[in-house]
Symmetry: C2
Subunit: 422 residues, 2 copies
């Protein structure tokens, strides 16, 4: 197992994996165990500079069992989903040799060796920003590198899928399709890249992290209940989504923003519609989400062509995809007009991520927010009410790259001597 | 026209018509002009003691044109919907003779005679409580009596339908079905009574009038946009509703409250789902509506069988139908726990209608509300937050009777001398 037997060693790999936001939504499984969806979905990968998971994985003969730490806290790996991923990866592991360290691991060794996994999100886990998608994708990607799994990203996506459905879409940058597949064993339920992040690099994404006091239904139980009780979900999955997938692929290919925006908004709304058609009904959007939609819809209508698309996952946060930087700056002005920060807030932590959008919007300090005028499309004075404090913060970002290995050892989250979190 | 020619006269009729709440929803027209729906609907008529329209109509040779006053203010009758109703009624008018007053009007006279219409709601028009349904039904019913229209209530319902779709269901008490019909001219799109109000007299209805700062989409334009843009509405209308109608008729016939409640809640949620699936999306329910649903769903689940059904029309107000008085009292305790009145409110105007429900709930004064304990089904302390001021007031009522003529002349809204509002 080790070239110099008797001497212990730790072999580690660190990787960074993006999160993603679906523009054609995944909602409903046809197989709960294998996580096979009832329709294709399409997502945009978000820039990992602003939203990503970093995971270090290590193997050592000294490890007595598989262990995982998430955001500084040890978590159990006993869940079926983690176990499925680990089992799949071990079965695909290959020989690994590190001559420098004098380490040699054979394909067979992986069955007995244990791993340590240390994972951090660069954004609040609780914010409902698809942390499990990035997390599971990163776990699978980094372990695959450690174990010298030779499968391509699509094959890896089928493993990540078994950890968390939408995780499979985080194996690629840019624009990604999760093909639902037909096989009972799920082998063809994989992600493929439609276009990389450079294909359409005008897009700017602003996420409104919405304050919520409601306890939300988990997406796992939510989508199960929808499949079991909604009278509309089957029609959506079988009749509506397949046509939208074709149109969305076309819109992405042609960088056709009006079509992209219309499909994105319609599909987000329909996803929330089938949630509402569930018994008991599931509400993920709240009054703040509704107000953000109204603001965007009104502006898009007044411009005659969409400037911004909105989409909401299983929570009240708005993900707003702007046609370009100019539209993003105008959007941010509108958002800050309606949702100014609390008086004691710090602008620097109220708008995070790519701060150049804030500059483009002409906002340098809190006073600039107070002096914002109502959007010109608002003619009615009753629509200029402000909702201070209803948004926790904004993240400015863009479509981004897929997973990467971080070779700089200083970025490893694992102590190379102890094999424990740094 | 008048027996003693030269002398003017005023002939008046006063009627009272209930409002109704749909338990299988009407949403979408197949003919905008004739107001023909895309699916059958079923409603419960609400007790006119608590929610109704009173309308006095009068005819006089001295009247120079048709005029109408609604809640003390003159309104225009020029709209196509009013005109359709008036034309239909005039074409069906018969001879009228009042020997005592020496009045004789022939069928032909009605073409030239003008009418005055004076209408009052006994509840706030702006509260979003289907005032147009009761109003149009009362206009048609009272004019039909004045003009001696010999059609039965179902034929009258087809006239009221052309004024406001759901008005046709207010021509009967109890439980009412609006049959969508097949004819192009709408002649078979009529309301029929499924059962009168005595058939199931255990039911108690509590309406939560929810404060709303949002400007709502009118149901006329809302349903048009849904039909034009929702990918789910056709499936709802053609596949889902017809089965629900059969089951709902069965549930009403058998006084099967669990089935009635499940169908009512599911159909309300589905109606709001197709609104959300509209482009741009329509939101009628707000966070308060969602909280009321959550409260009811949690309680129903903890009891193992539904105690209360909820349904929401084109606005945030909750209509809560309780199995019986006991369930209604327990419901009112829960509602008042979560939605206590403002400190300066008067209990007497915060819970209106049938006050005996308040007595059954053991609430005599504002202090009794403050001392209400969290519902036993709530185990989680985060779910005991109160939302003071989010409900404007509650109305306690029950299923009620259909339209009646008020023979007591003191209840007429029209001055018998001038033919103008009293």
């Amino acid at each position: 197992m080790a070239a110099e037997s008797g001497k212990s060693w730790v072999l580690a790999v660190t990787a960074q994996t993006p999160t993603n936001i679906a523009v054609i939504k995944y909602w409903g499984k046809r197989d709960e165990e294998l996580i096979l969806p009832i329709n294709d979905s399409i997502s945009v990968t978000l820039d990992p500079d602003h939203l990503c998971t970093t995971t270090s994985v290590a193997v050592s003969p000294a490890f007595t069992h598989d262990r995982m730490w998430l955001n500084g806290k040890e978590v159990s790996l006993s869940g079926g989903r983690y176990q499925n991923c680990l089992r799949e990866l071990r079965s695909r592991a290959s020989d690994v040799e590190d001559e420098q360290k004098g380490i040699k691991i054979t394909k067979k060794d992986w069955e007995k060796l244990h791993v340590h996994i240390v994972s951090y999100n660069n954004f609040p886990t609780a914010a409902g920003l698809a942390s499990s998608a990035a997390g599971l994708a990163c776990l699978v990607f980094s372990l695959a590198k450690l174990m010298n799994v030779k499968d391509d990203h699509s094959r890896l996506s089928a493993i990540a899928r078994q950890g968390s459905g939408s995780a499979c879409r985080s194996l690629y940058g840019g624009f990604v399709k999760w093909i639902m597949g037909k096989e009972e064993n799920g082998s063809d339920s994989i992600a493929v890249q439609l276009a990389d992040e450079k294909h359409w690099d005008d897009l700017v994404i602003i996420i409104a992290v919405v304050s919520s006091r409601q306890k939300e239904t988990s997406s796992t139980s939510g989508m199960r209940e929808t499949v079991e009780t909604s009278m509309l979900i089957e029609h959506r999955a079988k009749e509506v989504v397949p046509k939208r997938i074709v149109k969305m692929e076309e819109a992405i290919k042609n960088r056709d923003f009006p079509a992209f925006a219309r499909l994105t908004c319609a599909d987000s709304n329909q996803f929330h519609a089938v949630c509402l058609d569930t018994s008991p009904p599931i509400f993920y959007m709240n009054d703040t989400s509704h107000r953000i939609i109204s603001c965007v819809e009104k502006w898009n209508r007044s411009e005659g062509t969409p400037q911004v698309a909105y989409t909401f996952d299983a929570g009240p946060n708005a993900v707003l995809i702007s046609h370009n930087r100019k539209a993003a700056a105008l959007l941010l002005q509108r958002l800050l007009f309606y949702f100014p920060p609390q008086a004691d807030a710090d602008l620097n932590s109220y708008v995070i991520g790519d701060k150049t959008i804030l500059q483009d919007a002409g906002i340098q300090n809190m006073k600039d927010i107070d002096t914002l005028t109502p959007p010109p499309e608002v003619k009615d004075n009753t629509q200029t009410q402000k909702y201070r404090g209803d948004v926790s913060y904004f993240i400015c970002t863009r479509p981004g790259r897929g997973p990467v290995v971080l070779t700089d050892e200083s970025r490893s989250l694992i102590n190379p001597e102890t094999g424990l979190p740094k």
